[in-house]
């Protein structure tokens, strides 16, 4: 946990002595009560209701009436991290005798917000500083003028994010600030987590629960008064299996081939993985997590650039290992973070040149220079390997939408993967996981996998019409949807909009869609190939061309899905859909936006974009 994450309480030496003395005299129960007391004091201070140094008697009401406050753990999650943390936190809370309500922002009834008392928020950031898809409606409400005043609310925000993005933890910051504006008081300052969120998140949880439990030492369990739906921990599937994110299943690759035809500008792959005997289950819409390894050749190059030996001993999170092993599967060793830049700058004498850069220049520099490039450009000999890895981030699993249905291929997971390839400094480079899948995952090899449930990308009832919109690998979940619908004999209509570069080579799963069309499993399909003609055509253009029918389907209750690229596809498609409704219903822009907010709230507009 870095200093910036926990702004230090700058105590005087005298104060610190008193705290230490007090601490030594407390039993655990008293300690919890004290921490709650100080938290309340803190939030009072933040609200400005209490003067610094004022008498403790002026504590906020909450601390004065312990045990009567309801606790809600509210999360917004897209790829499941916050959801999982929230579920664990709720379980831990129950163990401590608290009675939390666990709620997903995607399903939360916002009118109940005004009745909330204690709110622990876990929220990730997606897109460009945006909330996770399912939480979009919640944000709309909270950030609108309709949002209620929240004078009785005490809250704390755990923000998940990724430091390599410009708007680090943007969504968390927004909520944290907004609740303050609405009159809520912070239980503690927000904690922002990078991709290695596990430890800071756990510490945050322990601290928050300690604080709240202390509040209600003598409390009888409070009756849930909030309007949140109680949702089960969002890993029903994972729960059935012994395997999960931290304990992935060694699955066997049974097919790995290039799906794009000869001559394609793409290298999109179809990969089939056996999960036989794993107990892993998934539903259409879920993703597969891959715990990847770095390219051994890159590990060697990096060791060479560092003048370090691969068998140098090292300790990572208490485990003894070697440097080579650690670089292979413990750390991200491709893209560099700001932190790495600072770290390396300190180790070498390059701090000057790095800190002289503006933040835009730093971002630009990091884009063009990955770890190995920085090490090569600012070489250093004779440092302790441990010092080097201290600047690295842990290697994160990658998610891939599942392109199959267990109803058709029991024991298998199919993926559609577009390998990330680029060149830096004249060298070909590959994405960690996609490169691993493309280059080092031949048939019969093993991959460490787990299921990442996505309750916000689900097929509706069998007879409901669905409109599926996707480009490139974004078509993957729709293959899963149609396999499922075919197996179930669903009679709901379906319409697929698919986009890629070239008809001839990039029409992913072409024969399968054709067969589904012929068999009426798929009712309609519209395709847009952007590079076949001088004039570029994308899926949003096809949507506009079919405006009348798209609107008719919406009015007939169709569920709309969008999957694939987050930067262009999702906003452009959204815009096209807004226009369709504006034009077809002859309504204003705002009303069209309302239309989609309603759809979203009803779970009829679901997006899975990355």
């Amino acid at each position: 946990m870095t200093a910036s994450q926990f702004p230090g309480a700058a105590l005087t030496a005298e104060q610190w002595r008193l705290v230490e003395a007090l601490g030594a005299s407390l039993n655990p129960q008293q300690a919890r009560w004290i921490s709650g007391y100080f938290a309340g004091l803190d939030s009072g201070l933040l609200r400005g209701g209490v003067q610094a140094g004022a008498a403790p008697l002026a504590l906020p009401s909450a601390a004065a009436a312990p045990g009567t406050r309801a606790l809600t753990i509210l999360y917004g999650s897209e790829t499941g991290n916050s959801a999982e943390l929230a579920a664990n936190l709720a379980a831990a809370a129950r163990e401590q005798g608290l009675d939390p309500v666990l709620a997903d922002m995607g399903e939360y009834k916002t009118r109940k917000l005004k009745d909330e008392q204690d709110l622990l928020i876990l929220i990730s950031t997606h897109g460009e500083g945006d909330p996770p898809q399912p939480a979009a409606g919640f944000f709309d409400f909270v950030e609108s003028r309709k949002a209620p005043k929240l004078p009785n609310l005490r809250y704390a925000v755990l923000a998940l994010g990724d430091m390599t993005y410009e708007h680090f933890c943007g969504a968390g910051k927004r909520l944290d600030e907004r609740f303050e504006v609405l009159g809520g008081s912070r239980l503690r300052a927000r904690v922002d987590c990078d991709v290695d969120y596990e430890e800071p998140a756990e510490a945050w949880g322990i601290e928050m629960l300690a604080m709240l439990a202390a509040d209600r030492v003598d409390a009888v369990p409070a009756v849930a008064t909030t309007g949140a739906m109680v949702v089960p921990a969002p890993q029903p599937a994972a729960a059935a299996s012994a395997y999960g994110k931290r304990n992935p299943f060694p699955a066997t690759v049974i097919e790995n081939m290039v799906l794009a035809g000869r001559g394609s500008t793409k290298e999109t792959r179809h990969i089939e993985i056996s999960i036989e005997d794993s107990g892993l289950q998934y539903e259409p819409g879920d993703a597969l997590g891959i715990v990847s390894r770095n390219d051994p050749a890159l590990v060697d190059s990096l060791l060479g650039a560092l003048h370090m030996e691969g068998d140098a001993p090292l300790t990572v999170k208490g485990h003894a290992t070697t440097l080579a092993e650690a670089l292979a599967d413990r750390f991200e060793i491709t893209t560099a973070t700001q932190r790495f830049l600072d770290h390396w700058g300190e180790l070498t004498s390059a701090t000057e040149s790095f800190s002289a850069m503006s933040s835009a220049e730093r971002a630009e520099f990091l884009h063009g220079n990955h770890i190995i490039d920085i090490v090569r450009a600012f070489p250093l000999q004779g440092i302790d390997p441990q010092r080097f890895v201290d600047g690295l981030r842990p290697l994160q699993p990658r998610l891939y939408s599942i392109a199959s249905s267990l109803a058709v291929v029991p024991d298998e997971v199919h993926l559609t993967v577009s390998p990330v390839r680029y060149a830096l400094h004249g060298e070909p480079r590959s994405g960690v996981a996609s490169g691993h899948l493309a280059d080092r995952a031949p048939v019969d090899s093993q991959l460490q996998v787990y299921i990442q449930s996505n309750p916000h990308f689900r097929l509706p009832d069998d007879d409901r019409p669905i409109i599926m919109i996707g480009a490139g690998t974004g078509v993957a979940p729709y293959r899963s949807f149609l396999q499922e619908r075919e197996a179930r004999g669903s009679n709901g209509r379906s319409w697929l909009f698919f986009g890629e570069r070239n008809f001839r080579t990039d029409f992913l799963y072409q024969i399968e869609w054709q067969t589904w069309l012929k068999d009426d499993i798929l009712t309609r399909m519209d395709v847009a190939f952007s590079r076949d003609h001088a004039e570029k055509v994308y899926v949003q253009h096809r949507i506009s061309e079919q405006a009348r029918d798209v609107y008719a389907w919406l009015e007939e209750g169709a569920h709309v899905y969008v999957c694939g690229d987050a930067t262009h596809l999702a906003p452009d498609v959204h815009e096209a859909l807004l226009n369709v409704v504006e034009e077809q219903a002859s309504i204003q822009r705002e009303a069209a936006e309302e239309y989609f907010r309603d759809l979203q709230r009803d779970g009829r507009y679901q997006r899975d974009v990355y």
């Binding site: 799906l259 794009a260 008809f503 992913l508 799963y509 072409q510 399968e512 054709q514």
Partner: protein, 572 residues
């Protein structure tokens, strides 16, 4: 005159349901419209649906797929790499530089940077994707070219001798070929509607006054030849006209040859190639009426029940030459005169510079198998831009830069040298006299490689010829990827027809100028056996031939192969 009675159980007099399904398809196509226009709009597939594939042939368009990737695409869950071959209708094989440049431009824009000059003197585009067909055809339209009936059960592209020996006759023949071609093409407005986007206009006139709803029983091929060149292989035409000039060198009329054709099927003895029979002479003014007469006899009496027997050559054999001649005379309203004497010396091209008696110069360029790719296309475009005369496609898949004025010759010579085209003819005599059909990867009927393999095989045969001192001997050698015979193999001295990848039938004994069919010498053999057989035959030829004796004649005289006297005996 009446047509003598005959068995009519297989012809157009029968109800459709007694005939081959293709007859119903044609009849119900609304004069070749089908659902072509609709199928072009379907973005989910690069193909067109069912019957439209056949109907589009009448518009000069063949649906194909890249066979090199067929298997891998199936595994990749992609449909076959559908694409279209588009064949231009170019009567007599003559085009202007402007047309040449347009065609080159279209090939580079839509046709995978390649063009194919065919054995019937025209261009084929390959690799045209479905949504590029319309722009391709509209582009051709800009230079007054089209693809009408370049394929299908109709009268195909009309051939004519391009050898510049007799320029006046040649010009006359070219004009007649165009006239006949215009006369025999389908008249349906469908082509304009589908490809040019024309409106359909209601009319009380019959849409196809000659063809009717069911067109011909099968393809029908017409050609004009000017002896002594038999460059167009007159004996392979359904209807051939042999130009007969008077002592003054002026055209008097034509000997009429009927019932030629190449296609056969392996293991189907009722199918066979046939050399056309010369049945008489007509003065030139009877050309159109006799053409109508011959075509209408085939239209009305040709076999429409069995497509394998639907070509005119089988009608001629089934009815007998005398009956056919009588029927033609009845339709033409007058008897044919006795055939006039004529003589052919070769069916090959005369390479390099030639000068005709009108003072024009011509340069014939060897184009291996008629295949034009880059940078050859660019070199030829450079020439076309500078050229003031015409360009002629030869029936041997070569190109003549024709009608160069004497004063322009030095500049053209320099240009040919500069572009490297002057050196194109520096090839062995064997290579210059060889032809191969298209076959893989585009031809859907190919069983073995042809165009992509023959050049290698020739290199190996050249070594054998060198061994026996035969390098200067002109020998016709032709290869096709299947027994259909698109490079007219059955009249070559040495021929190969594909049976399976790497396997061919080997034929010997064809006439040097295309006058006699060859016979199968070895069946279904691979390269080592081919080379072994040729080594033996050519060794004997070198040792035992008479002065001036051609290989085909020699193999028969030496008893290496039995002469084929008539097509129907070629499988005996």
């Amino acid at each position: 005159m009446d047509i003598p009675p005959t068995d009519r159980s297989h012809d157009i007099s029968q109800p459709l349901e007694r005939l081959s399904p293709d007859e119903t398809m044609k009849a119900e196509s609304d004069y070749l419209r089908g659902t072509i226009a609709l199928g072009l709009l379907d973005r989910i597939t690069g193909a067109v649906p069912g019957d439209d594939i056949k109907l589009m042939k009448f518009h000069g368009i063949y649906q194909q797929d890249d066979r090199d990737v067929r298997d891998e695409r199936r595994r990749q869950k992609l449909e076959p790499a559908y694409q279209f071959m588009v064949r231009v209708r170019l009567p007599g094989g003559i085009c202007t530089p402007e047309q040449w440049l347009k065609i080159t431009e279209l090939a580079c824009a839509h046709g995978g940077d390649t063009l194919r000059m065919t054995t019937r003197q025209t261009f084929q585009f390959h690799w045209i994707l479905k949504d590029s067909i319309v722009p391709t055809i509209r582009g051709l339209h800009e230079v007054l070219l089209d693809t009408v009936a370049a394929c299908g059960d109709d009268s195909r592209g009309v051939m004519a001798t391009v050898d510049p020996q007799f320029p006046a006759l040649q010009a006359q023949m070219a004009a007649l070929a165009k006239q006949v071609s215009d006369h025999v093409i389908p008249k349906t407005h469908a082509y304009h509607e589908i490809w040019y986007g024309a409106e359909r206009v209601a009319s009380s006139e019959p849409e196809e006054p000659f063809y009717g709803r069911t067109y011909m029983p099968r393809k029908f091929k017409i050609g004009f030849v000017i002896p002594p060149s038999n460059d167009i292989d007159i004996y392979a035409q359904d209807l051939g006209y042999i130009a007969i000039a008077g002592p003054d060198g002026k055209l008097e009329g034509f000997n009429v040859a009927v019932g030629g054709g190449m296609g056969r099927t392996d293991q189907a003895p009722h199918t066979y190639p046939r050399t056309a029979t010369v049945i008489g002479f007509i003065p030139s003014d009877r050309l159109m009426s006799v053409t109508d007469a011959v075509m209408s006899v085939q239209r009305d009496f040709g076999n429409r029940a069995d497509r394998a027997r639907a070509r005119f050559k089988y009608t001629v054999d089934d009815k007998g030459v005398d009956w056919i001649k009588a029927a033609i005379e009845a339709r033409a309203g007058a008897p044919l005169e006795p055939a006039r004497p004529y003589e052919f010396t070769s069916n090959g091209d005369r390479y390099g510079w030639t000068e005709s008696d009108d003072g024009h110069h011509h340069f014939t360029i060897f184009i291996q198998n008629g295949r034009l790719t880059r940078p050859l296309l660019d070199a030829l475009a450079t020439v076309a831009r500078a050229h003031k005369g015409k360009l002629r496609l030869t029936p041997n898949q070569n190109l003549i830069i024709a009608d160069i004025a004497a004063e322009d010759r030095p500049a053209m010579e320099a240009l040919l040298t500069e572009t490297g085209l002057a050196a194109a003819n520096d090839q062995s005599v064997l290579r210059l006299n060889a032809m191969a059909c298209v076959a893989f990867p585009t031809c859907g009927l190919a069983m073995a490689e042809s165009e992509r393999y023959l050049p290698d095989l020739i290199t190996k045969v050249e070594a054998i010829l060198a061994k026996y001192g035969l390098e200067k001997e002109p020998i016709t050698m032709r290869m096709t990827g299947c027994p259909n015979g698109c490079a007219r193999p059955y009249i070559a001295e040495i021929a190969f027809t594909g049976r399976a990848p790497g396997k061919y039938n080997l034929y010997l004994g064809g006439g040097f100028h295309g006058e006699r069919l060859n016979r199968m010498y070895r069946e279904n053999i691979g390269e080592p056996a081919i080379l072994e057989a040729l080594d033996e035959v050519l060794g004997r030829y070198a040792a035992e031939r008479l002065p001036g004796e051609h290989l085909g004649d020699f193999t028969i005289r030496a008893g290496i192969i039995r002469e084929v006297t008539e097509g129907r005996f070629s499988n005996d």
